[in-house]
């Protein structure tokens, strides 16, 4: 098999995998709507809107330690 053929197969294979992953991701996002920690994705917008240093983080880094 020539390098051009290998390249072509590699390319097609990679395309299929990536299309699958990205559509899967889109499907996951819009059906689950929430991430693994149970937070609605849209809440993350608040990271920009409530960004004073005294505001409570959307998900604090030390949260699990406190609980």
């Amino acid at each position: 098999m020539s390098i051009a053929e290998l390249q072509a197969y590699g390319y097609v294979g990679a395309m299929v995998v990536l299309v699958f992953i990205s559509y899967g991701y889109a499907y996951h996002l819009y059906t689950k709507k929430k991430d693994a920690s149970g937070k609605d994705y849209e809440e993350y917008s608040n990271m920009a809107l409530r960004d004073d240093i005294t505001d409570t983080p959307v998900s604090a880094r030390s949260e699990h330690k406190k609980k």
């Binding site: 390098i3 051009a4 390249q7 590699g10 390319y11 990679a14 991701y25 991430d35 693994a36 920690s37």
Partner: protein
């Protein structure tokens, strides 16, 4: 998986890097060896031509002139045979350009002469009425940097095995050997000998005098380079 990436910046960065590096790997790497093989009839640049190429680069000629003839009738009619990959084998860097404010120069050596270039570089609009190209009069007084051109020859011969002092096949079955000096003094002498041939075809007395005195103005080197583009 994505959610996890979002909270682990290091792995996120690795993920992004893989996704963006993938295209480059597939597009560029496989053809590397093939694309850098010279076609028959392509020889490396002589010292003076290379110095002229440096003048071309120093003044960003490539900002307005391409060196790439596309395979269309209108382009081959205007500029000559369309470009082949192997013709650029000794071009480091490539000088295709991205904009034709002026015409393509890939094969300018086929249809312009030393005399034409001399007049044109001094006063473009005088030679081509309506031209918007600026004049490059300082090239007639600035001296070409032969040493650096020689340094580049040494470098490419050593690092990239560019065939200097070796026979290179031509289209008619003959071979051509592009000589490179064995030291700086010899390289300068060889460039000067080449420059004298160019200067003999030029009209400006200042340039002739300079070359006779052993100095090579930038314009002479540049014309040597432009004449070599065929």
């Amino acid at each position: 998986m994505f959610h996890w990436l979002e909270k682990h910046p290091f792995f996120f960065a690795v993920g992004v890097f893989l996704v963006i590096a993938f295209a480059g790997l597939v597009e560029i790497v496989p053809n590397f060896v093939q694309a850098s093989r010279p076609v028959i009839g392509t020889a490396p640049y002589s010292t003076l031509e290379l110095a002229g190429r440096h003048v071309y680069i120093k003044n960003s000629c490539n900002a307005c002139h391409s060196q790439l003839i596309r395979p269309f009738k209108s382009e081959t009619d205007r500029y000559g045979h369309y470009s082949l990959s192997g013709e650029y084998a000794y071009d480091r860097p490539f000088l295709w350009g991205s904009k034709r404010t002026g015409p393509d120069l890939m094969r300018v050596g086929n249809y312009r002469t030393t005399d034409w270039h001399e007049n044109h570089m001094k006063d473009p609009a005088g030679v081509v009425p309506g031209s918007i190209m600026p004049a490059y009069r300082w090239m007639f007084t600035n001296k070409a940097d032969i040493d650096t051109a020689y340094a580049e020859q040494l470098t490419v011969a050593k690092v990239f095995s560019t065939p200097y002092n070796k026979p290179v096949p031509m289209k008619d079955g003959s071979t051509v050997t592009v000589k490179m000096g064995s030291n700086v003094a010899e390289a300068n002498a060889m460039a000067l000998a080449e420059a004298k041939v160019i200067a003999a075809d030029m009209k400006g007395q200042d340039v002739k005098d300079a070359v006779a005195a052993g100095k090579i103005p930038e314009i002479v080197a540049l014309i040597a380079y432009l004449n070599s583009l065929k």
